[in-house]
Amino acid sequence: MKQWKVHNFGDHAILIEWPEDLSMDIRREILELDHFIEEQYEEEVLETVPTYHSLAIYLNMGVDVNVFIAELKEIDIIPGRDISSRRLVHIPVCYDKEFAPDLNIVASENGLTDEEVIRLHSNGNYRVEFIGFLPGFPYLTGLDERLFTPRLSNPRPRITEGSIGIGGKQTGVYTMESPGGWNIIGRSPIKFFSAHELPPSLLRPGDLVKFRAIDRSTFDKILIQVTQGIYSLEIRTHD
């Protein structure tokens, strides 16, 4: 049975909402419906934004929202097509003290040593649910619950690009310099967003992500390669 509901979202957009349980089936269905709508309604749809349990559909000028809603309500089953990304992206992360001002907070909050935090974080398997907050910023699921740590009570005014953080039950990467309240536990030397590439975001919804611990000299080496445009990131396809 169809689990989603279609609503108006302001004057010129539509919001499709699923129940709040974040089962894998629902998370896959959101991306499938997103893909289907973008392909099927290219003329009507300006752009879409998928999130944990909703999908926003922004319409082109001149499209009658109510007529389009009626059309979307007719969709019962998404024509079965496997659109899962199949990409497994290995992100190098240096967890050295210099890049990890809050590593000890995450450790003490959870009764762990710094080394255990690094091991648990870099052993995890994560999935990109969607991109939001900042250009290219991935919302990842899959953080080990032994690493859950409340956000800082006083957010920092400036967090360096590439910083890896833990905020509550989530982990993620600050893909651009920004203010932020997550606990910073490391830094990646790679570029997550480039306006000159299409798509501009390295990570895409549905991607699987692993963090690979690197030492300081490897960080420096990769950073130079990234700056020179000769670094090639490890992206595998999986079944």
Partner: protein, 273 residues
């Protein structure tokens, strides 16, 4: 003073977390372009509260629209809301706004600047600059022989109108608020905070109102968010693409532009339609 280059905005990249940006008061900016026979998407100079002083190194046809400013061209008062010919070596001075916030300087042929992801709109981290600074050089189109014929000379647009009661519709979380809160947020008078910017307008109030955080979901300019600590935010053009606060009201595009022209310390009310 905050000046930047803006056009209609950056579309097609919200899925990758890129805000749409673009004119805060689109109606006023587009009218300026129309007076000059420009495409509505032509890049214009946008300034808040006070305008810049500009030196023209070549002739141009310009129009100032949006908020009301004292405008001086070569030491003489200049009319807003109409096309004006500016000579080479002229000095244009835009003073403080005395009505509204956002002003626009449209230039025949538009401003020529970097296009990033399909738009010239400035946005931190995307465009090379975040805002215009003293000493910056802005490249503009050179007038051609036919330029003048495309301009609506003599047409005078009306001054902007300010609206202090803003029409709103229910946001996705409105119905899940307790009845008492729904009544309070609909009846309250809010004051626009000085901490308002192109991302969001913060509204001050004395009401005992608050709403739960939500699972991160899509947001767009015109959404009004209510936080667990009781902060009210009206999202503007540089707003994030997703957010975790309750979305209680929705302003349509026109209403969002009207809201944008209200100044800090001014009062505003919402009317549910």
């Amino acid at each position: 003073m905050y000046s930047s280059i803006q056009d209609l905005g950056r579309f097609g990249y919200r899925k990758y977390g890129v805000p749409i940006s673009g004119f805060m008061d689109e109606a006023s900016a587009v009218k300026g372009n129309e007076l000059l026979g420009n495409d509505p998407n032509c890049a214009v100079l946008e300034f808040a509260n006070a305008g810049p002083k500009l030196f023209f190194t070549k002739p141009a046809i310009i129009a100032v629209t949006g908020a009301s400013f004292n405008i001086m061209l070569d030491g003489k008062e200049m009319h807003p809301n109409r096309a004006v010919l500016v000579n080479s070596n002229s000095v244009l001075e835009l003073g403080k706004a005395y009505k509204g916030v956002w002003g626009y300087l449209a230039i025949k042929g538009g401003i020529i600047s970097n296009v990033v992801l399909g738009s010239r709109s400035y946005f931190k981290g995307l465009s090379r600059e975040e805002k215009l600074n003293k000493g910056d050089i802005i490249e503009i189109s050179t007038l051609s022989e036919s330029s003048s014929q495309e301009v609506s000379w003599g047409e005078q647009l009306p001054e902007i109108e300010l609206h202090r009661t803003i029409p709103v519709t229910e946001g996705p979380e409105f119905q899940s608020l307790p009845m008492a809160i729904r009544l309070k947020i609909t009846d309250a008078t809010y004051v626009i905070s000085h901490q308002s910017n192109r991302m969001a307008y913060l509204l001050d109030h004395n009401e005992p109102i608050s709403a739960k955080e939500i699972v991160t979901a899509p947001v767009q300019p015109g959404i009004v968010q209510l936080t667990p600590s009781g902060k009210m935010l009206v999202l503007m053009k540089d707003a994030q693409t997703t957010g975790g606060y309750s979305r209680i009201f929705h302003l349509n595009e026109r209403a969002t532009q009207q809201m944008a022209q209200l100044r800090p310390a001014e009062e505003v009310r919402f009317k549910l339609i």
